[in-house]
């Protein structure tokens, strides 16, 4: 007992180190979303480049799909954009663009310049629906299953690792 006693502070030290180390490596910007596992909030929004047409999330029912929140004013969106463009080319999963607090005209120009990976783009001009989705930093990406439930959410730019390690396996699982 007395022989090992002097080791106790050492163990406490290591315990604290592990906690702090873990704490430091967490990103405080990544707030765990309470929406995962819940039904995707309802929306019916105008569609970019389709006059007078509206799209509702229930129109996507029966499909596994990605919802990608983007805006032409958003710098980090450019970082993930090539990954989305590539994803659209290699996968048959539809990506719905969610143009957040943007001018439609600017969105069109932006997509012309950088490529358009989206099946369709819905316009949330005043950000009201974005609020329902808990959007606070663009870009954000949601994976929604065939029953309309949110299964995955990424805040910030998607990386290739997110796609190959999280999204693709999850899609595979959901399609079974």
């Amino acid at each position: 007992m007395t022989a090992t006693r002097f080791l106790i502070p050492l163990f406490i030290f290591f315990g604290i180190t592990v906690f702090l180390w873990k704490g430091l490596s967490l990103n405080p910007k990544e707030v765990p979303s309470p929406l995962i596992g819940k039904a995707a909030p309802e929306f019916t929004l105008p569609i970019l480049n389709e006059f007078d047409a509206r799209l509702s999330n229930s129109d996507m029912e029966g499909e596994v799909w990605l919802l990608n929140v983007f805006a032409s004013w958003c710098g980090p969106c450019l970082v993930e954009h090539p990954i989305l463009v590539n994803f659209a080319k290699t996968s048959d999963i539809p990506i719905l663009g969610f143009n957040y607090k943007d001018k439609p005209q600017a969105a069109v120009q932006w997509l012309n310049r950088h490529g358009d990976p989206y099946e369709r783009v819905v316009l949330d001009i005043d950000g009201r629906v974005g609020l329902d989705y808990g959007v606070y930093g663009v870009p954000e990406t949601f994976l929604i299953d065939g029953r309309g439930f949110i299964r995955y959410k990424k805040i910030g730019p998607l990386t290739q690792a997110d796609v190959s390690e999280d999204i693709l396996p999850l899609i595979q699982e959901l399609r079974q």
Partner: protein
């Protein structure tokens, strides 16, 4: 000199008036409502600028959320309902005061446990030391030490 100072004072007043110019009309409309909006938004975290409340912040999202709070109050919703609305979308993190529940227990009772542990250790150490002084072993040691010191 006096002229310069009074000019400076005047400038300060002018500038400060300017910076308030944007908010003033809103406040004038319904001060009671604004008071409530302010009280509630002071307890909601601005997620873009994390260590600010949405009341303090003028970031785009904070303004949207303040408008949302105002809107909901106008529709006669209670503070509880508004906070639930926010938590449903942004999680507990949006609340400046974390709620007491399973996942936040460590946060709430952790410091108390630490205090109790520290107190218990202090008591133990003090007891052992006060016992140590007149324990037979230590007086034996003391005697030996005295013996050694004699030479």
């Amino acid at each position: 000199m006096i002229k310069k100072i009074s000019l400076a004072v005047l400038m300060v007043f002018l500038v400060s008036n300017l910076s308030y110019a944007e908010e003033a009309p809103l406040l004038a409309k319904d001060p009671e409502l604004e008071e409530r909006v302010k009280a509630i938004s002071a307890e909601l975290r601005c997620l873009v600028c994390q260590n600010q409340t949405i009341s303090d912040s003028n970031a785009g999202l904070a303004v949207d959320l303040k408008n949302q709070v105002r809107d909901m109050l106008r529709r006669g919703m209670s503070e509880r309902q508004i906070k639930d609305f926010m938590v449903e979308r942004y999680g507990d993190f949006v609340l400046y005061n974390p709620p007491v529940k399973g996942t936040t227990m460590v946060l709430w009772i952790g410091p108390l446990l630490m205090l109790i542990l520290a107190f218990w250790m202090a008591v133990r150490i003090v007891r052992r030391r006060s016992r140590g002084i007149d324990s037979p072993q230590s007086s034996e040691d003391a005697a030996r030490a005295r013996e050694l010191l004699k030479d």
